[in-house]
Amino acid sequence: MQLKKPGSVPTALMAASCALLGASTAKADDSYESDDWQVDSALLYYKEDQQRVQAIEPVVSLKRDFGDDRSLGVKLTYDSLSGGSPNGALPSHSPQTFATPSGASLQAPSGEPQTYTTSSGRVVALLEKVTLYTTEPGQLPLDPNFHDQRVAFSTSWQQRLGEQMRLSVGGDLSHEQDFMSAGLNAALARDFNNKNTTLSFGTNLEADAIRPIGGAPVGGTDYTQLQKGGNESKTVGGVLFGVTQVLSRRWLAQLNYSYDASHGYQTDPYKLLSVIDAGGNAVGYRFENRPDNRTRQSVFLENKLALGRDVLDLSLRHMKDNWGIKSQTADLRYRLELGNAMYIEPHARYYKQNAASFYNLYLNAADPAPDVMSADPRLGAFDAMTYGLKLGMTLADKSEVSIRLEQYRQNARDVPAAFGQLQGLDLNPGLKSFIFQVGWRFSF
């Protein structure tokens, strides 16, 4: 055996250790048993401009190695969200009044729900008690009463199956006031070519219960009628094929193909569309209505490059779905070692998507209402940029602290020209938000 680039005695010793431990392709030497729990924790503060959504999110993740590539992981996430969320309607030069879903009630004053059957055979209730909010002229309509809390728990177990294969299984639960989700996932990975190549296959299944406050609106109906039904549900199933390849001593790459299919209620129960007449006046609103089926495919490529002591991470993703959306994502991080166990990591991300086929900024009053419709900006065409910086430091006790600051900006594309009474209004102002995060990794 001849060492081609031994570098130094410590390097050779480390290399020999790696060989003895049989470090796997995509993982560090996980094959030793540790008596410690490794804790990875973070506190996120997320804030959008124009008094829109803000969130505070603590996350704690624990992992323990039991030796022989067996490990257990658990993660707990808590989200507290508040602020104003765009309801989908266009701004106007006149005040606009809306009903907040949190003030709605399915109970008629008599105490009995007033229900009737629609032409499609669906039983719905006509709401009678609502709380109103008014959007000032020129302002983007935001429901100012948005509050929610989310608690999410996930766990995973990994172990070796024979000499070359690894199995991981996991589950997750998530709960919000109006949403519950439960999921299971499993993945198999097999090493080839002296662990330079790893093929992996994974699958997941998710079941969601959607319980909109005030009931789920009947999609596409006149907003002023406030026709609402009960709760809804959705299921998601997906598969992922991946290949991880060591290309050189300094270059690791991963290529994934994933496919998932969602079936069930995918409408946002709190989103509307403005109905605009030939003069640019809002003459009404409709609840949005999305297709019940969605399939998505994505190809994801990630590269890790060791450049001296630094590490460059470049990932690219192309996604398309059967709603007509295509998106491209490029994400670049460069971890620059500063010495004294400190590093700084600049981050840039570019994202671009086109609009869903049923996306419309507003509905034309002269046209018949379409079957499926949405003015949700998240389904429109836009470009987005993220710029960020992370600073990390390893302390004397081997724990690591970090802070991260990022700015995210969405700029809408293909916004229709304003006409009539819409002139002078910013019909799709985009989004600007800040992310501030502190992290702490330690063992106990």
């Binding site: 993740s61 996430t77 996604m319």
Partner: protein, 75 residues
């Protein structure tokens, strides 16, 4: 386009799984850099999870790296 990419991925998998890739890669004693924590594909799992959650709630795309998990009724 997607079919071509999927076919390419399948081809890469097949090639990688056979001896075609046996000349690509490193010997076990050359894994010093690859074994560094910051060279792992999941070097910062919490950053990745937080980013995934933020972008999931603001964009029409998600996933690719792996499975998300938990979902949300994000506004």
């Amino acid at each position: 386009m997607m079919r071509r990419v999927a076919a390419l991925a399948a081809l890469l998998c097949a090639v990688a799984a056979t001896s075609g890739c046996s000349t690509i890669g490193v010997k076990p004693w050359q894994r010093d850099l690859l074994a560094k924590p910051e060279m792992q594909l999941d070097a910062d799992p919490l950053d990745a999870a937080i980013d995934e959650h933020v972008y999931f709630s603001k964009e029409a795309s998600s996933g690719g790296r792996g499975f998300g998990g938990g979902g949300c009724g994000c506004n």
